[in-house]
Amino acid sequence: MTESSTQQPDRIRISGGRVVDPANKVDAILDVFIADGKIAAVGTPPDGFEAGHDIDASGRIVCPGLVDLCARTREPGQEHKATIASESLAAASGGITTLCCPPDTRPVVETPADIELIRLRAEAAGKTRIVTLGALTRGLDGEYLSEMAALKKAGCVGVSNALRPLANTLVQRRALEYAATFDLTVFLYANDHWLSADGCAHEGKVATRMGLTGIPEAAETTAIARDLALVEQTGVRAHFCRVSSARAAQMVARAQFDGLPVTADVAIPYLYLTEIDIRGFDSNCHVIPPLRTIEDRQRLRDAVQRGIFSAICSDHQPHDPDAKLRPFPSTEPGISGLDTLLPLGLRLVDEQVMGLNELIQRLTAGPAQILGLPCGTLTVGNTADICIFDPELTWQLDPSTIKSHGHNTPFMGWELKGRVTHTLLAGRQVHAL
């Protein structure tokens, strides 16, 4: 990896910051020492440690680099929207050191060569670590299984059919069984193929008034019910991506209580926005799954707080302007989210939805565990992926401050609090404010 590039000092001291490392239950003013790209010590310096570079983190928070469970870089295939280089930069400036790409690139990630291509380009960009999910079915067509053993060998961290849920329950069963054979986590996006067809908004009062084709809550709950039954039968480890409704969250909680190997996440826009935000046909709020009710948003917040969702992701989907410059139902869904993952997360702490330690856990160790990666902690000996941020620094998200190539976000113009001042990837500074 480019992490071995030589221009920078290999011994760094981060001094005076509040170190928040939930995995190790650390929350104190401590120094962090980095040597050879790894965490050398936290607190007391190792014997004979001499820093080549000192980062003053006083008044700031030092935490593991963020791990984003779902971000699209649009490369390969849709470089007019964004590239691995552009989005790596945005990730680094947002404190994100590991991001996971779903397989719905063009071509789909279904061979070792596809994974290799993304890895090489990510390394060339050198700003963040990119891991990939492989396709669950060939070409995401929902009919034939992908070569999962080869995908795993090539380094994919799981398999998924991305936003194309399988209509055929038998294929779904076989796919889960086959993934379980290789101990692969299956990332499921719960949305019934038929119930959600053509829909672009939550089926409720707002969609009814606006005449938009609805996606009922049942599109999510029937899919989760089906998939939970199949998880139980096949024993596969499953992760439910982007849960959007209160009832679905409750079903996941119940399955976890029953001991099923099931995890889940929520994307951060869903903790702020609701169906009401699409009024006026704001295409920046066109997302799949759809924004649901205020009650749903409250229950999603509760579920993150309680740990039913062990990860919060950006669900980053950068778009070119044209993708959103159409009548609402014809626009492409998705929000550009790398720039706002941490500051919107910190707002949850301000709003007392959860504590800072819980938030950092959901942004680091939580998602790392789902991906089966050793990152997301400041454990001594671990790769030194570190995010340093000033929790009090306010800034405005606008076209001049956003780093992602995709400017499609309903949070544009928001005053945000909390800004990343330094990002270290394997001990190398990849961002400094």
Partner: protein, 324 residues
């Protein structure tokens, strides 16, 4: 930006006409009164007034239409405007041109007003957000969202038939509410006029989620729904609803929800029968009802011209004043 702020200027007058929501009762009445004044014009031998002389109006239709497009065209011509009809049911979009590109190209020809029909909900709103400042947009139907001039001509027709007091009226809208932009706009217009009792009547498959939140009473039985009704508005049933598993057959629909003289016995004796057209005879209603003395279906068409003249002249008037 809300629809209301987009279609009205700072003085609360029409700039565009996109939907009924956001209008106030006073403005709605003003439109209806203006339409009333235009009914005289349409009955004269020389059916023209020079209000929009020298203006260019483009009927931009992305969906097939006969009645709406024709009445818009006639309305524009009776206001002495130059009218251009463009039907883009497939052509440009198939060639890959975006809606915005189509719009920019037409704008380059110095158009003063677009009358737009599009199959996406929110299309007229989108166009109004992107047109040049001195161009007006009139919504001639967007997806399932809104068809405001149809709703206006319907309440105009009701006002002429039943008088101005909507508070004592019971109006039943029968048919495919789920897919109907006409129904949504009618409901808003009727509520704005404080209609006493607005009902929708349809099987559950054709009623949208939380329909009551629109301000209506929901019925799934025709006789119960039209009992004591002063006005019954029937909606067109599209043939493709059978394929979507929304209904088993036109036959069963007619049996249960088709209006016949016999079923009308439970409505008020002077009930007014309306339909936005085109009618499926033997599906929504039988010919006896459609052609009967209580039917005002053809008056609706006639009123469509006056109402559209009113909306077009009021929206254009705004620009004239602004320039002066």
């Amino acid at each position: 930006m809300s629809n209301a702020s987009l279609q009205l200027d700072a003085h609360g007058r029409l700039k565009h006409f996109l939907c009924i929501e956001g209008l106030n009762r006073q403005l709605l009445s003003e439109i209806l009164d203006t339409a009333e004044s235009f009914t005289g014009v349409t009955e004269q031998t020389v059916k023209k007034v020079p209000l929009l002389r020298g203006k260019t109006i483009v009927n931009l239709f992305f969906e097939a239409s006969t009645r709406t497009r024709t009445t818009f065209e006639l309305a524009a011509k009776r206001l002495s405007a130059d009218v251009l009809n463009i039907n883009i049911t497939q052509s440009s979009t198939v060639k890959g041109e975006t809606l915005l590109d189509t719009l920019r190209n037409l704008e380059a020809m110095h158009v003063d007003m677009f009358v737009v029909r599009h199959n996406d909900s929110g299309a007229a709103h989108f166009i109004a957000s992107h047109v040049a400042p001195h161009t007006s947009v009139i919504n001639a139907g967007d997806g399932r969202h809104s068809h405001p001039t149809q709703a206006l001509l319907d309440v105009f027709t009701i006002r002429r038939t039943k008088g101005p007091d909507f508070g004592r009226l019971r109006v039943a809208i029968v048919g495919d509410i789920l897919h109907s932009r006409v129904a949504r706009s009618q409901i808003h217009a009727l509520n704005l006029l404080n209609t006493g009792d607005i009902r929708i009547v349809a099987p559950r498959t054709l009623v949208p989620a939380h329909a009551e939140s629109l301000g209506v009473h929901v019925y799934h039985d025709l006789e119960a729904g039209i009992e004591g009704a002063d006005v019954i508005i029937m909606l067109r049933l599209q043939h493709e609803r059978m394929q979507g598993a929304l209904l088993p057959s036109e036959h069963e629909y007619y049996e249960l929800f088709g209006v016949t003289e016999e079923k009308l016995a439970v409505a008020r004796p002077d009930v007014t029968i309306m339909h936005p057209g085109p009618i499926n005879r033997g599906v929504e209603m039988d010919s006896e009802v459609a052609d009967g003395s209580r039917s005002v279906i053809l008056e609706q068409v006639t009123h469509g011209i006056a109402v559209r003249m009113a909306v077009m002249s009021m929206a254009m008037h705004h620009h004239k004043e602004r320039k002066a």
